[in-house]
Amino acid sequence: MTTLTFALLIAGGSVTAGMLGALTGLGGGIIVVPMLTLLFHVDLRYAIGASLVSVIATSSGAAAAYVREGYTNVRVGILLEVATTVGALVGAALSGVIPTSALAVLFGCVLLFTAVRSMQPRTEHDVLTTPDKWAARLRLDSTYPTGERMQPYSVQRVPAGFSLMFIAGILSALLGIGSGIIKVLAMDQMMRLPFKVSTTTSNFMIGVTAAASAGVYLHRGYIDPVLSFPVMLGVLAGALLGARILGRANTKLLRQIFTVVVVVMALEMLYKGFTGGL
């Protein structure tokens, strides 16, 4: 295949991935690596490098808007970034020694988990205002806009959330994903932040988490310019397009399509992992 054809096909696939990611709120990063490896037979290391770069672009782009609207909890984000950054560097170190087949199996499992989470109905829990020892000491409690006023909330179980963020960092580096699903799980379910604050703060952290391992991978030669630029620009364009048509799109149907795509990719990743075909 010539470079031009390849770049155009990759860009087309990446636009679709970015659009699906933005419309379903699950991020496109999780399907970029399977697309590159399974569909275009790209080596896993190149795929992870390109995917991480695209994850930085889309998350930073989206975070720019959210942080200005006052949803993002910057203190919670910075604090948890200690855990995700350490995790990402540990993951980058591990990626040099873990065999590709094991990574494929791990990827399959994370994809299945994503599919399960995307099918679960989103339940908004009550906003808590009971003080927590760690949250008070670190001044994590804040307010967020609910339309008519600024609603105060308090943050719970900081050590548990911090620990899960370490895992999110490892997975981000090993698989070239943003790990948004796990970050939201930690903040929404464990630390009891309001859902909108959890998703926007997750987005805020994803860029830093991905940058930690992407810096290492650049030096290791995992980031190829010719592969990465159509992926990055494609996912970014897709995400911007997705955000623009969000109000008009049938997100329930898209979510179902996305889940089917993720399950198919999960099964293929598991199969390739167990048969050593990746």
């Binding site: 010539t2 037979h41 080596d43």
Partner: protein
């Protein structure tokens, strides 16, 4: 001028309220991503013009050449208008954008004399720079 954001009770003599920091961080991320994407796009078009017809395959991992792996050689190559190095510079700027955000946040916490978060943010920044500059994990 009164600001409706109640978090501005956190405003300091330095003039950097939490709200002002959020506005600046948002703008920084936006400009960083747009500029990086633009550099990568220009470089990418150059690459396609120069090498568009050449065959390409990523099935076997070879690793990038030294020119596209170290910060100094990427910057040097980009200024010499090497198309591949120009794309790589765009990607490098993209990776640097969240790092710049952390550096700016550190400055804001320092101006607010928020010692706890100066320490927390410094840890994050040192870890990021370590990976970014030394490439070790």
């Amino acid at each position: 001028m009164s600001d409706p954001n109640p978090r501005d009770k956190n405003a300091h003599a330095s003039g950097w309220s939490d709200h002002a920091v959020e506005q600046f961080i948002g703008r920084l991320l936006q400009v960083g991503v747009l500029f990086a994407a633009l550099v990568a796009l220009v470089g990418g078009l150059f690459v396609l013009v120069q090498h568009g017809g050449a065959p390409v395959s990523y099935t076997v991992f070879r690793g990038e050449p030294e020119l596209l792996r170290s910060i100094v050689s990427i910057v040097r190559g980009a200024f010499a208008l090497n198309s591949l190095a120009l794309v790589q510079l765009g990607l490098l700027l993209l990776i640097a954008t969240p790092i710049a955000r952390v550096a700016f946040t550190l400055g804001a916490f320092a101006l607010q004399r928020d010692r706890t978060y100066v320490i927390v943010t410094t840890i994050v920044l040192v870890l990021l720079l370590y990976g970014f500059i030394y490439g070790k994990a």
